[in-house]
Symmetry: C2
Subunit: 336 residues, 2 copies
DNA sequence: TTGTATGCGTTATCAT
DNA sequence: ATGATAACGCATACAA
């Protein structure tokens, strides 16, 4: 591995000159600069990240806190594509990413300690229990943080626009003439609450009454629970004509229950998901759903985090709302 | 951030003593050692990874080469759970992981250069076009490498046991009395070839004849192609009673075609997938498939790589075969 | 058992 | 325009 010193020897200059030339300082002669650059390239030189980090106190490394007890983090398309686009954007901006965890080797450490150990320039937090003490400690620290789909007072956040998304989705269903709409929603989280509130708001705006029994508590990404709630809804004396699910995967449970009862989706019963994962468009009928802008969110998170790092003066905890996109499949039939 | 120097001051000893005490050298007095350790803990000390790396030439960082043009890498459960378990095991062994890519900032670099820049102690390669020049360059380098589901002459490999997996799966189907078995297989890769060969072998062993027209070239994770091939198979004068798909996602295409034709899966037609992703067990009927040991593979890859790094003397390019597990759903009906 | 001194590869300050 | 030198935090050979 070529070092700056070797380049200096080869070019007959000092290491200081090489360093400056390579970092584009203007006070180096054009000729020497060119000579240095070309021989550096010829020798396959790359700066030693550790040495540079030691000196500059900047690692060009972003921490990613992306943990899930159920190991569902990476296996949910919404999160994995978010991560993928975060990584891509981070790389474009010159940063690598490192996963943060709560122990390394046998040494237990908090998230914050892990970040400090690796000298992360900043951290993105997503897909985690945001109420943990360790998360809070990290958020309160001096390290720049960006959160996704959660708001902390102290740091910027990238948020999926669940309110508008829900409005678009339910609006479409209402346009199709449905007036008996049930909603199997996810666990009680900020996301669920926003969607639920938006659901109520638009229904009221359009003078559609939602009987309390149409609202069922489900679990994100758990088809079996959704199947059970679907069965309960269908057994009602006055069953709904359309059922909303917490997400596309949960819809699978409903779909199974429909088929078991011989109900044809879109004519006998309508349904909609949320997320817009690729599976939803593989099914027949294609699912009507709301595709969350996970790619845009990942990229926005990376850009926003790097801004916090590189321009700390103008930094303040703003919120970026990323819109989703209504995906009209064939799972919501028309009643008009 | 506390440094070794501050601890030294506080304890009234030299930095060398602190360093030794913290690294468990035996030539430090028990009392001083205890004093140093406790004050270090009290001060929230963690060694500066960059400084340590600079000195020891070891970063405790593993590179992960995990790229896919179609961005399907992270979104396929097989790969994402492989990565997740690799990460978990690496952390247990005291390593963080860094994604390797082919450019960072505006600076284009090869995979090898990126690894060197970050001073990765080793690299895991999976889910990538293994035929690329840059991959080859990396494999030939001095950096320890482990590959997953691909064999290079020069480095150890972790392999899913596709031959035994296929034997188990097809064996089960034959046990159910099927004699007309079609196989929509994936693109022409080493994995496909192994599975195809195993398919032929076991059929021959059990005296089952496979007409060439029962073998169809599909595409991994592409339901639409599978749907088309399924239609072609069903339109045959002498159609199969059971169809194998390249993977569970591809099966969705077949499933759609069955339903379109009003064929009841398991009684009118049988089908099997491969991979054993969680979706396959959410569908009704549950899919009969072969669950690949992705968790075991990820962990094995991490352990194997760390062994290459920490014990280079005994290192040689061996292969670790990880078995899968037959998952018997309801999609293969009995003909006997 | 403990301390001194040096160097890892880089950047940055200050001379020249 | 270029160079000598110190410093970043740590580990270690060697001296005491």
């Amino acid at each position: 591995m070529a070092t700056i010193k070797e380049i200096a020897q080869k070019c007959g200059v000092s290491t200081a000159t090489v360093s400056k030339a390579l970092n584009g300082y203007s006070d180096i002669g054009v000729e020497t600069s060119n000579l240095i650059r070309s021989t550096a390239a010829k020798m396959g030189y790359f700066p030693n990240a550790a040495a540079r980090a030691l000196k500059t106190n900047r690692t060009h490394n972003l921490g990613v806190l992306f943990i899930d007890k159920t190991r569902s983090g990476l296996t949910h398309e919404y999160f994995s594509s978010l991560l993928e686009s975060f990584k891509t954007q981070a790389e474009k901006l010159g940063y690598d990413i490192t996963f943060i965890s709560s122990n390394i080797g046998n040494v237990p450490m908090t998230y914050l300690e892990h970040c400090r150990y690796r000298r992360c320039d900043g951290v993105m937090i997503a897909c985690i229990d945001f109420n943990g003490r360790q998360v809070f400690e990290l958020v309160q620290s001096e390290i720049p943080v960006v959160t996704v789909d959660h708001v902390f007072d102290a740091c910027p956040a990238i948020l999926s626009d669940n309110v508008q998304g829900m409005r678009d989705l339910v609006g479409h269903i209402l346009d199709k003439g449905h007036e008996k709409i049930a909603y199997v929603h996810g666990e009680d989280t900020a996301v669920s609450r926003k969607r639920l509130a938006a659901f109520h708001t638009i229904c009221r705006e359009r003078s559609v009454i939602v009987p309390p029994v149409y609202l069922r508590q489900g679990i994100f990404h758990d088809p079996e629970t959704s199947r059970r709630e679907t069965a309960a809804l269908l057994d009602l004396p006055n069953p709904p004509t359309c059922i909303l699910y917490p997400d596309d995967i949960s819809y699978i449970g409903g779909m199974n229950e429909f088929e078991r009862r011989g109900l044809k989706i879109s004519t006998d019963i309508s349904a909609a998901g949320y997320d817009g994962v690729s599976l939803s468009q593989m099914l027949r009928p294609r699912l009507t759903t709301l595709r969350q802008g996970s790619l845009a969110m990942g990229a926005a998170a990376a850009s926003r985090l790097v801004r916090s790092i590189e321009d700390p003066h103008t930094d303040f905890p703003d919120h970026t709302l990323i819109p989703g996109e209504l995906v009209i499949g064939q799972s919501v039939g028309s009643l008009i």
